[in-house]
């Protein structure tokens, strides 16, 4: 079979197409600006994006109220949501300005990924941060 025959054969084209999609979306998605987390090459369950929400800056006010929870807790469609830093920030920004379970407004949020507060003491609700929350905002 020659390469000319290859292009006449729909199945070879299909295999090439599937391969191209896999390379772009699964093997090296970051190279083309797509997202992917842990599906390629493993399954690791320490990527929870955890929210530490306060009613005000906890580094300036020692009496700041605090609540902590994971995103996507409860009944799940598939396994728990995994996150990278970018998607974790995008996900926690949903909760900025929303009431906590105790009723006070969540004004200051420090996300944690793999037990690390990767934004340091920066507030994820800070308007100076790039707003990427549209990824999770479709329901609102």
């Amino acid at each position: 079979m020659t390469f000319r025959d290859w292009f006449r054969d729909g199945w070879f084209l299909f295999f090439a197409f599937i391969s191209a999609v896999m390379v772009v979306t699964l093997v090296m998605p970051a190279a083309v600006g797509l997202q992917n987390f842990t599906q390629w090459g493993g399954m690791y369950d320490d990527h929870w994006c955890v929210i530490n929400a306060y009613d005000k800056n906890p580094h300036a006010y020692s009496d700041a109220k605090h609540v902590q929870f994971s995103i996507g807790d409860g009944r799940r469609v598939f396994s728990s949501p995994a996150h990278n830093r970018k998607s974790c920030v995008a996900a926690v920004q949903i909760f900025c300005g929303q009431p906590s379970t105790e009723g006070w407004t969540m004004a200051w949020i420090e996300p944690t990924l793999k037990t690390e507060r990767f934004l340091g003491e920066q507030n994820a609700c800070d308007p100076a941060l790039p707003v990427i929350r549209h990824w999770f905002f479709h329901a609102q």
Binding site: T25, V27, T38, G72, V77, S79, A91
Partner: protein, 284 residues
């Protein structure tokens, strides 16, 4: 090793799924070494073993082995990484493919036994074992042996769908509603446009019917893989599974990717066989 004879279109298409599976396992070995089992935020294998045992996942007799091996789990982790890495490398190089299959099988059989009572992980282990059996016995993959492989694949698919039906009510409209809500709020896709498209396409009654109906479509395609139209059914299932993997991105399980890899392997090989002889139904 790759030779000039391997650069024909036919050989290349045969090599493609093998390359992806090899790359997957090589990456898996690297990630275990750099992150999961030995990295700075590692979860040691003994902690994983204890977690599995606490949740009643291993077969009873295999639990004894796990308990005995607890002091040596760093060594076991190193062996797993070596075996997965070696298998991946050999598959990519297209060299000693039978040995690669054996290495994969040893690792996956142990994972299978250690997580037997957890349905999703059992499906995952079965998928990986089927891939390793394929590479171990590739030269025999025709006639009855290939029919057995196909039956096994369909069976794994049915077990997977059974789990989805029982524990996630996948086939019902009610489940479709909360699943769509969950997707909108907590999941992201490969890119925002894909997520927007899915939400747009599944809005309204017709969209919800499509969402819930996907379970029945997958079931139908699985049975289609036993008919003489099995190549087309397998290819359609491959497209659906790949799409689902990209749509439901942020889940920690690589089960979706395993389905993609296994189906790709199956479709390419089935196509090779159908080039030589017209397909017959595998139904009794």
């Amino acid at each position: 090793m790759l030779s000039k004879n391997d650069l024909t279109p036919r050989a290349i298409s045969r090599y493609l799924p093998q390359f992806f599976i090899g790359l997957f396992f090589l990456t898996a070995a690297y990630l275990k070494w750099a992150q999961a089992l030995f990295g700075p935020h590692r979860i040691a294998l003994d902690a994983i073993f204890l977690h599995w045992m606490r949740n009643g996942m291993p077969l009873e007799w295999y639990k004894d082995f796990m308990t005995w091996s607890l002091p040596y789990t760093d060594w076991l982790a190193a062996i797993v990484i070596l075996l997965q890495g070696l298998a991946g490398l050999l598959l990519i190089l297209n060299w000693r493919v039978r040995l690669a299959g054996l290495c994969m099988f040893i690792v996956q059989l142990n994972v299978y036994l250690a997580t037997y009572h957890q349905l999703e992980l059992r499906v995952l282990g079965s998928q990986a074992m089927l891939m390793s059996i394929f590479f171990f016995a590739r030269s025999e993959m025709r006639g009855r042996v290939w029919a057995l492989m196909t039956y096994a694949m369909v069976l794994i698919g049915l077990v997977h769908l059974y789990g989805r039906y029982m524990y996630f009510s996948d086939a019902s409209m009610e489940a479709a509603l909360w699943q769509r809500g969950y997707f909108a709020l907590y999941n992201m896709s490969s890119w925002p446009g894909l997520k927007s498209f899915v939400l747009w396409a599944t809005a309204g009654t017709a969209g919800m019917l499509l969402w819930a109906g996907m379970f029945w479509i997958k079931l139908g395609l699985l049975f289609g893989m036993l008919t003489r139209y099995r190549l087309q059914a397998g290819a359609a299932l491959l497209v659906i599974v790949l799409s689902a993997t990209l749509i439901w991105l942020n889940t920690w399980s690589c089960e979706g990717v395993f389905w993609v890899l296994l189906l790709f392997l199956w479709v390419v090989h089935e196509r090779e066989l159908q080039r030589a002889a017209a397909p017959k139904s595998l139904l009794p």
